[in-house]
């Protein structure tokens, strides 16, 4: 009985119908949180003593980077679930997570570069964190490229899931790179266990933005997965019905 939800999760149809109710709420919550975080962060949070107003880009940079890393875990774990239990749904989640993660990685790299120009005086340095984020981008692109190169869908799923799993070896290295190699990028400022080295007046808008990004991520991932599922299950009856109902 306790495992029933897990077996249900294997059915694309159940997932599709269940999540259609969540989507508007997730969208609403993420819009509200992002709007609140942006207004608070850009308009009301105090100026940084050293960096002036340019620090405000962290309200986008940090959440994007958070999710770029978390998104990789989501991709790899759903790939692993797919490999172990041969679940159609989790492969679809994995395939959907790859491009979203790649875009988030790019956003965090780009905003970092924009911020780096006034602060560090350069757009790009070969610093540990930046380089490892670039590698993360290549990991994402590798998974996407492999899944597109293999023509048979099932084989492509398994192959890219395996690659995603192998790539997880790099994620702790990326995550810890700022603490291990003390280079230009500052060490992590937000800590769960100890007190953060960031002032509460800046921290709360940042926290709101992070939660908002998580909601936005969940919304994008669900939408993308649902589209993929529909495309894959196009021959089945339920998908036909859903499509007919939406038109």
């Amino acid at each position: 009985m306790a495992w029933q939800w897990f077996h249900r999760l294997g059915s694309p149809r159940w997932f599709y119908q269940k999540t259609s109710g969540w989507l508007p709420w997730l969208a609403l919550v993420s819009i509200v949180l992002l709007a609140a975080g942006t207004v608070w962060g850009l308009g009301f949070a105090p100026e940084d003593a050293k960096q002036g107003n340019s620090y405000r880009i962290i309200f986008i940079h940090v959440p994007a980077a958070f999710l770029a890393l978390a998104g990789y875990y989501i991709m790899a774990i759903s790939g692993a679930i797919g490999l172990i239990w041969k679940m159609k749904l989790s492969f679809a989640v994995m395939r959907a997570a790859a491009p979203i993660g790649a875009v988030l990685t790019f956003i965090s790299l780009f905003t970092g570069a924009v911020w780096g120009k006034p602060t560090w005086g350069t757009y790009w340095v070969w610093d540990a964190r930046i380089t490892s984020m670039l590698i993360l981008l290549f990991l994402y692109i590798g998974v996407m490229a492999l899944s597109q190169a293999v023509s048979r869908e099932q084989v492509a799923d398994k192959a890219s899931a395996l690659l995603a799993l192998v790539g997880t070896v790099n994620i702790p290295i990326i995550y810890k790179s700022v603490d291990w190699w003390f280079t230009l990028h500052q060490p992590a400022t937000i800590r769960l266990t100890e007190s953060s080295s960031i002032d509460p007046s800046m921290f709360y808008p940042l926290l709101i933005m992070i939660i908002g990004f998580y909601c936005l991520y969940a919304w994008t991932l669900l939408t993308h997965t649902r589209t993929l599922l529909l495309r894959r299950e196009i021959r089945t009856q339920w998908a036909q019905q859903e499509l007919a109902g939406e038109n």
């Binding site: 590698i135 290549f138 590798g142 293999v150 084989v155 192959a159 070896v169």
Partner: protein, 211 residues
């Protein structure tokens, strides 16, 4: 499987590639000894990495085309050992000669003498890990028609930790610091790669054979 050694060109090509690209380097950046000495550890490592990767493509290709790979997968022995043996042969054919050749190249690139031994050991350990990790990429792409660039895209990010610690070790040796820590990490990476990479590659072969 040691039949692979019979094809002389397969061994010579990565080595020749390695040496040729290194010969191009002074032409490209100018022959100043100081500059070359600074770049030498990194360049030698990057070239070793590229040479290993380019030869990796053919690791399972022949066996895949004539059906040997399917027979290997059907054997009662785990595919793990077959992959391990393949990677070992690949390393003996590419990584080991590269490591043996490296002091000579280091001399040509004016690397300070303190770095020689460390360069050799780091390449010796590092290229073995590269062969093992590359086997995963080769196994994933073996069923594709032209895997060349895709293989590079897949394998490169996985090579990065080896490259970091490899060049780190040589740099530390040149600067006169202790470098045993970096070498120990390289050895640990090798141990982890030997244990896990053939497992992943064997899984990848089974997936590729489904295609």
């Amino acid at each position: 499987m040691l039949l692979a050694l019979r094809k002389r060109a397969d061994i010579a090509n990565p080595l020749l590639f390695f040496v040729t690209v290194l010969a191009l380097l002074p032409l490209g950046v100018g022959p100043e000894p100081d500059l070359l000495a600074k770049m030498a550890p990194g360049m030698i490592w990057v070239m070793a990495l590229l040479a290993t990767m380019l030869s990796q493509e053919s690791l399972f290709r022949g066996d895949f085309e004539d059906g040997t790979l399917e027979q290997l997968a059907l054997l009662p022995q785990p595919l793990y050992f077959a992959v391990l043996a393949k990677s070992l042969v690949h390393w003996i054919a590419t990584g080991l000669p590269l490591a043996l050749l490296s002091p000579l190249l280091a001399l040509m690139l004016n690397l300070p003498t303190e770095g020689y031994f460390c360069l050799f050991v780091s390449l010796f350990l590092g290229t073995a890990s590269l062969s093992l990790i590359g086997a995963i990429g080769a196994a994933l792409t073996v069923a594709l028609r032209r895997p060349g660039l895709l293989l590079a895209l897949i394998v490169m990010p996985l090579y990065v930790p080896v490259l970091i610690f490899g060049t780190g070790a040589v740099q530390a040796a040149i600067d006169g610091y202790a470098y045993s820590a970096q070498l120990a990490i390289l050895a640990a990476l090798l141990a982890a790669a030997a244990a896990l990479a053939p497992l992943a590659a064997a899984g990848a072969i089974r997936i590729s054979l489904d295609n």
